[in-house]
Amino acid sequence: MVSLAATFGRGAMTNHWRDIKNADLILINGANPAEAHPVGFQWFMRAKLDRGAKIIHADPRFTRTSAVADMYLRIRTGSDVAYFGGLINYVLQNNLFHDAYVRNYTNASFIVKDGYSFKDGLFSGYDASKRTYNIATWSYETDSATGFAMRDLTLQHPRSVFQLMKQHYSRYTPEMVSSITGIPVADFKKVAELVGQMGKPDKVMTIVYAVGLTHHTTGGQLIRSGAALQLLLGNMGRPGGGMNAERGHANIQGNTDHAISWEILPGYLRIPAPGQKTIAEYVAASAPKKSDKNSWNFFGTNYSKFMVSTLKAWFGDAAKKDNEFAFDFIPKPASNASWMTIYDQALKGKMEGLILSGMTAASIGPDSNQVRDALGKLKWLVVMDALPTTSSEFWHAPGVDAASVKTEVFMVPTTHWIEKDGSFVNSGRWSQWKDQVLPPEGQARHDHWILADVFQRVKKLYQSQGGKFPDPVMALTFNYKDATKPELDEIAKEINGKDLTTGKQLASFALLKDDGTTTTGDWIYTGSYTEAGNLMKRRQGVQDPKANDPTGMGFFANWAWSWPLNRRVMYNRASADLDGKPWDATRPGITWDGSKWVGDVPDYPPTMDPHDPASWLPFIMNGEGVGRLFSNSMIDGPFPEHYEPVESPVANPLHPANSASPVAFLYDQAAGRPNRFGDAKEFPYIATSYRLTEHEHYVTQHVPHLVQLQPKAFVEIPYELANEKGIKNGEQVRVSSKRGKLEVAALVTKRLGALTVAGQKVYQIGIPIHWGYVGLSADSDPGKGRYWLANALTPFVGDANARTPEFKAFLVNVEKL
């Protein structure tokens, strides 16, 4: 998500599920949609069946997605930058990029400041002692008069992004790609030829990815490499194109939008930093800056309106102009507070208690044995869940001496999402309202009721006992019919926001103001619950495709509601040429009809004439107004570069001296604990972890029908390796890493196999994540699933940008039991 925002301006799937049917070519990297998104996968099949689209799936394993793909490539995990880099090189060397698009809609023409360099795997500005870059060395050269970036539309300037990019990727020859990824040169060339066709205006390709790219210490760069390729081919903003992140849980997109990550506030406003005292200071440090005269810089321009309206929603009358709208009520974290940091702090004994809700720390995080130790160092742990989890049961897990665990564990039964109404926001940003399906069971209460009740009690304590800085708690808006039982519909209405002068619901975030007269709980949702009601409940769909989807592009504008402003394909100004005509008339996004933009909801001022010399550039969220091939919003490099996973059996063929990411965050080392990384001598095999269709993480371990479908923990072992080791299909094996072990059954298969990487033969093995010591399978196991947690193996390291753990590439050994 970080990398998409750093490239296009917003961190979300750019298109939407149904749109995939419009593609000519579908590259799937680091995703297994047939298994993890089977319902969404119908649109891949429609593209294949109805328009003869080709699907190319690159994955360490031949999966159920590969089974229907036109071409499957066995790729080494963590090497997709090389794959996309090789494709970028092929496209650039053979002039197959979409010329007009690249010149006008990307920052190819922008000129980078002198001093930027890349050598031996390091970009300029590296500080080895801190393991960080000074990213100021990656800025544009600016015109001293206007402050805008210098551009060279001929793309010839040696420091133009275009030339630097060409040079950067010239190292990614097919041979190099093959040596890094393991994909044979001839097969890679076949793919390159297909992809090379997609720069033509009447062709369009989509790239689909998920956590197979994210779960790496290079995750951000892996994704950005695909995004850059898409910009070069002119596939962004277009129906059938895009860089499409398939999100996880049914509502994970909604989670992110509403700031489940520590570093953002709702609507991707940045969390304020220590020292910022005023809204102006905050906006200056957080908002994108306009760097071209034709850049609208919509986000940057309106940042303060969004922030003030949010503060107004939260603190009501207590947020006044003369107290900076209560800006000082907002916490300003001094240090990182991402997932792994929390358990790192707990391990260090710096945390007293923890509330887990709808997530089981003991299964999902890397190095789960260490995470379990961390839980054991807490004074108290609250688990809000509908079911027992490995976290609620961690203190008496098999092999744990319950008496020795001092943590007090509280289980607070909540309703499951199926027992409440509310919205689900899918990957395509469609917020769809659902009904309650089942009544709550037993004494379970809704999460939001529990939280509301806790809040009221805390407030009462402040009232009766006082305390430090009570203001944010006392001032918090809580205008619900029942202050301990808010309804989700009330909350949705509040999130949309209103005009305080008229009392009316707002129809668009364009109406938000920074004078304290408007509110919003999350500006990107303004427009979802207007005076017309809750638009997320709309259901005008395939009952009448002609009426509900007049363009046939699958927009279905009156089905639910999608952010921003019910727009279905983001950046859709880029789907049309400079004159406002669609690049491909058969697949229009928006079209200039002479007086206005028609088609999808334009991601652009609706009546802005493209012929007006002052008209805005298409990527309105970016300061540049264009898509970024080169981005200084990433803290690990402006151009994606291949780095090895932290644990790898080979040295980086591009720059062996700087093999892994020089800025990946090494938690143990940073905390003064010894790094626990294995090497290929002791742990010769590459492992990756993933999902199976039949299970949803850990929770379906409680569902008999699904447990029957995949009843037992197993690992997938390549046939050839199994033969070498005398392991027969179905036998028990031990898989161990530097950090822990699994003892499970082996599923021997030719769907995994050997690769030749950097001249070496390597094997990859596959580890489904779904088992642990809680659930029906564990109950029926004599060992109670003691050695079934996949994350016992994974390393405690994080990507530099998002601190996402490296779940997808680590070293293990395999023994027959």
Binding site: F41, F62, Y72, R74, L709, P711, K712, T749, R751
Partner: protein
């Protein structure tokens, strides 16, 4: 699904294995709708199949056959890792129906094959007869069970649960004639893409007079555990041979008996 379901028309399934993704949604949807509990969970180490076979608790079963070459790059396209959602074929000439002594097995007004639970007496003759191993005995009721083609749903105007759940339209439900047309189009498309091994199974009358639940296969029928046209025979084929064999034996035996007992007036 737009079709209106009318009594008196022929309905069935066209299952296109080339687009099946083995998600087993059909298996689970069937169990949910029909309130089947499923069997005890056992790990079979057979690709991704842990169901094993169609039986009284599994009226849909997704088969997995791995033919994936051990190569770093290969084609998928539905024939490297074969997946097929198996079900009762609702045969035009149904072996099960042929042998059932109680007439519990009937053709419904939707031209599907249905076992009436209150008529079935649990003799298992149909189990022995079904060439596809479809029917299983429910140990609690002691009666024969199999896919009903969601008879109850069809009567209520709903498409079958499995077809509704299938995300890729691998299972298509509808009037037989429409399905056959769709299948011909799909087969032609695959053939034109050079997938000449693709074939329709049960689309014509070569197996059991045609199957209401027919398939597009990406390999030989035997690979999926389906008898080919040469092997697809009705149980009644053996009536004549069996009885004639018995009759000849009877004649010989009677003659032999008469010979043995014929001699009169002899001492023992």
């Amino acid at each position: 699904m737009a079709t209106k379901i009318k009594a008196g028309e022929s309905y069935g399934f066209f299952t296109d294995t080339s687009v099946c993704i083995g998600c087993k949604a059909c298996e689970v949807a069937c169990k949910e709708w029909n309130e089947l509990q499923g069997n005890n969970a056992t790990f079979l180490a057979d690709s991704f199949d842990n169901t094993g076979a169609l039986d009284a608790q599994n009226w849909r079963h997704v088969k997995f056959v791995e033919h994936v070459p051990d190569k770093p790059a290969t084609e998928g396209n539905g024939f490297a890792w074969l997946m097929m959602s198996d079900v009762c074929k609702h045969c035009k000439q149904a072996s099960c129906m042929e042998v059932c002594p109680t007439n519990a097995i009937i053709r419904t007004e939707f031209d599907t094959v249905f076992i009436q639970q209150d008529v079935c007496n649990g003799c298992r003759n149909c189990v022995a007869a079904c060439p596809y191993g479809v029917i299983g005995m429910n140990s609690q009721t002691g009666t024969a069970h199999k896919c009903t083609l969601c008879y109850d749903r069809l009567q209520g105007g709903l498409e079958p649960a499995c077809a509704k759940a299938c995300p890729t339209q691998s299972i298509q439900f509808g009037p037989l004639a429409e399905l056959q047309q769709a299948a011909d189009v799909r087969l032609a498309a695959l053939h034109s893409q050079g997938q000449t091994q693709a074939q329709l199974y049960g689309r014509d009358d070569k197996v059991y007079g045609g199957l209401n639940a027919f398939f597009l296969l990406m390999d030989k029928p035997e690979t999926y555990g389906l008898p080919n046209a040469d092997n697809a025979k009705l149980p009644s084929r053996n009536n004549v041979g069996g009885y004639v064999g018995a009759a000849i034996t009877a004649v010989l035996a009677v003659v032999a008996g008469l010979v043995a007992f014929r001699r009169r007036g002899e001492a023992a």
